[in-house]
């Protein structure tokens, strides 16, 4: 407790007590109740949220005891033979997220630039609301859209990509021929086996990209809109074209927001569940061939397998959830750091 002393001023009234009064910063009365109760609320929230994290971390211990390090190297998740590992689903998670970011990043950047730099001023609030609305559309709706509307077309596109770029390993699509051997599917065949080209990481990534695009776009737009108008006008006054101004002023200023927004989107893409469950057909091997049918992510694994799991497998699922949480957490923290450290991030709270 700090006690502040005031200077004693001479008083003309001898009957008034001349000692300095004590000033205390300690809350009293209602304030003390307020301080303590709000501290209690904070502690409750800390216990709840921290409890979840702690609980997940504790679940990793029995998993490591039961399955050892093979938990991280084993591809298959087969509860029948008790072979359990997350190598396959981790690759699947990352490949779906990367496909999603491949589509979401350019679209988010372009629409953020359009809204902040090109759109007529009268339209701007409407467009901002539109992007926010897009972020609020539930993921299961994007899942339905991806499964019923996009996937047939995405399958045709996948055939086309394999025709053009099939020599790159990640665009290869395999199939099983009559003798049971695994061979490369033939995209030039008279009747292409379309079933090999759907339910893939590529199709899931398209649906997930629709979910993360508005998030990334919102962060980028917010940062772009903070560009100092003086610098923009200076660039234009020096004879720059509109794009030249954007390249010389807006993009360098918003670099932190671009990277941060993209990584926030990536964090969301890593944890996306229901759209992936709807679209992919589960397969648990390490499969870097994104156009081919079958993949799995950590969250789709949890959604598919929680019901049939034994106690040990359940804690393994929780440990897989912990790995996913840590991955998302690292990505989100990096994003927040990048946004906050950049010049433009001073007032930006993503």
């Amino acid at each position: 407790m700090t006690i502040l002393r005031t200077e004693v001023l001479p008083s003309s009234r001898p009957d008034v007590d001349q000692r300095p009064r004590k000033i205390s910063r300690k809350p009293s009365g209602v304030d003390a109740v307020f301080a303590h109760s709000s501290r209690a609320v904070g502690a409750t929230v800390l216990v709840i949220t921290g409890g979840v994290g702690l609980f997940l971390a504790l679940q990793a211990i029995p998993t490591l005891r039961d399955y050892g390090t093979s938990f991280f190297t084993e591809e298959q998740w087969s509860p029948d033979t008790n072979q359990i590992g997350i190598a396959g689903v981790l690759v699947g998670t990352v490949s779906v997220a990367l496909v999603a970011m491949f589509f979401a990043f350019p679209l988010a950047l372009a629409s953020a630039l359009y809204i902040s730099e090109y759109a007529p001023a009268k339209l701007k609030p409407t467009l901002v609301s539109m992007i926010d609305l897009m972020a609020a559309v539930p993921s299961i709706v994007y899942g339905l859209w991806g499964f019923f509307l996009v996937m047939p077309h995405a399958g045709q596109v996948a055939v086309g990509i394999q025709k053009l770029l099939g020599w790159i390993p990640i665009f290869r699509v395999t199939t099983i021929d009559a003798s049971g051997a695994v061979v490369t599917a033939d995209p030039h065949a008279a009747v292409v086996d379309a079933t090999r080209y759907v339910s893939s990481a590529f199709c899931a990534g398209i649906a997930v990209s629709m979910m993360v695009m508005p998030m990334a776009c919102a962060v980028m737009r917010q940062v772009f809109s903070q560009t100092p108008p003086g610098e923009k006008e200076a660039a234009l006054a020096l004879g720059s074209t509109h794009w030249g101004m954007i390249r010389a002023v807006v993009l360098p200023f918003g670099r932190g927001g671009i990277i941060g927004g993209t990584m926030l989107g990536l964090g969301r893409a890593l944890g996306e569940t229901i759209a992936v469950v709807l679209i992919v057909s589960p397969a648990f091997d390490i499969k870097p061939r994104i156009l081919e049918i079958g993949t799995a992510t950590v969250s789709s694994l949890i959604a598919a397998r929680f019901g049939e799991a034994t106690a040990a497998q359940l804690s393994a699922l929780l440990a897989a959830g912990l790995v996913l949480f840590l991955l998302t957490f690292v990505v989100n923290t990096l994003a927040a750091l990048i946004v906050a450290r950049s010049r433009s991030g001073a007032g930006a709270d993503a």
Partner: protein
């Protein structure tokens, strides 16, 4: 013209101040300033029209590329190329780059708009069939077989279930979330920093892991039944960090001088929070809660693990309870065409619910004055009103008419 007459008397080698002609008409800004010239418009629209014509020629007459999708793709390519050529003819390479960037950005944005429109349009189109039956809104799925027509069964139990689960979830998260935000901003200290760090970290928690947590702790370890209440807990675990963090951000931008003014008038910290900080931040807090709500209503994975699926309408949260996302998910997974149609009807209902919440958020965020949201916080008049209210509430200072001073 006096100005001209004076100008004739100018002596070379000396400095003269320019003379202002009092009779001259006031200068008017050029009407066309900042607007594209007729030539610019012609280049712009002309190259777009030319690209459309070329694309039609290529798709319909030269190459076997039928369909609207190919036409749009080829139109896009030609509009970039033609625009670049026209710009190059006029201003050289910088103009060309400018035009290419403008066209690419515009088309990418239109692609996004098209995608959003196709999502909403597709869901309503496929879901139209069940939506037009009144019983879809007033009936539940009890005793309805997978092949029954649309004149049987409905979505009522899922809507009611969603609302009950969200209501319980909100009753948990709103006091805790906003209370934590108040604690982090108004009390502060080292402990608040710890809370803030943990809350920010937990916003990264994937929703399925929140569901799995409740499944393991509430259902398996504590031996409870699957129920709507368990689903509310899962939703609350998922929403709590989101709402706490968003409210924290909102409270942080409440200007410090409002707080200081209130404290300087002698009010207690509690009164300051209740009468100044929270009312100032109210629109922002409402937005934070409603956007968290929109997130919570659409998340399927936590309810998938915890609530079980019921076909009948139930108001008791301790029983099995369906909710909209779960309703859609189970129907669509069943593979029966009639069920899938029903699922799309549910998706349309869910979209309508989210849309309603979203519009409510916008309306609350933009209160009566209909000002854009980013305005500097409040006018002085409203500030003065708040101080007077504060004054009456605390009775620490005599009545001062603040309106007189601030309204001038």
């Amino acid at each position: 013209m006096t100005a001209v007459a004076e100008a004739a008397e100018l002596v070379s080698g000396t400095t003269h101040r320019p003379v202002r002609d009092p009779h001259a008409p006031a200068p008017r800004p050029l009407a066309t300033l900042g607007k594209p010239t007729a030539e610019d418009s012609f280049r712009n629209w002309g190259s777009l029209a030319g690209a459309a014509a070329l694309a039609w020629l290529l798709c319909e007459r030269l190459l076997p590329l039928p369909g609207v999708a190919w036409f749009l793709v080829v139109w896009f390519l030609f509009s970039v190329v033609l625009g670049a050529l026209v710009a190059l003819m006029r201003g050289g390479v910088p103009d060309m780059v400018d035009m290419v960037a403008r066209r690419v950005i515009l088309w990418a944005f239109l692609l996004i708009v098209g995608a959003l429109a196709s999502v909403i349009g597709f869901v309503f189109l496929r879901g139209w069939h069940p939506l037009v039956h009144l019983n879809f809104w007033t009936d539940d799925m009890a005793g309805v077989g997978p092949k029954d027509g649309m004149d049987k069964g409905g979505v009522l139990h899922a809507i009611v279930g969603s609302l009950i689960e969200l209501g319980i979830g909100l009753a948990i998260t709103v006091p805790l979330g906003i209370g934590t935000a108040v604690f982090m901003n108004e009390i502060g200290g080292r402990f608040a920093a710890v809370v803030r760090t943990v809350v920010e970290a937990m916003t990264a928690l994937p929703s399925i892991v929140a569901g799995l947590f409740i499944y393991t702790v509430w259902l398996l370890a504590l031996g409870q039944q699957r129920s709507g209440f368990a689903a509310s807990l899962a939703i609350a675990v998922m929403m709590l960090p989101i709402i706490a963090r968003a409210s924290d951000v909102v409270l942080r931008v409440v200007p410090g001088n409002l707080r200081e003014a209130s404290l300087a008038l002698g009010s207690s910290r509690w009164k300051t929070v209740w009468h100044v900080v929270l009312p100032t931040a109210r629109p922002g807090l409402a937005t934070a809660v409603i956007l968290g709500l929109a997130r919570g209503v659409g998340e399927t994975s936590p309810v998938l693990l915890t609530s079980g699926a019921a076909n009948a309408l139930t108001l008791d949260p301790l029983k099995l309870m369906s909710s909209l996302p779960l309703y859609i998910f189970t129907l669509v997974r069943s593979g029966e065409p009639a069920s899938i149609d029903r699922g799309f009807g549910g998706a349309a209902a869910l979209l309508l619910l989210v849309l309603t919440l979203f519009i409510a958020a916008r309306l609350i965020a933009r209160p009566q004055s209909a000002k854009p949201r980013r305005r500097p916080i409040r006018g002085t008049a409203s500030f003065a009103r708040r101080l007077i209210v504060l004054n009456r509430a605390t009775h620490t200072v005599g009545p001062v008419d603040l309106n007189q001073e601030t309204s001038s």
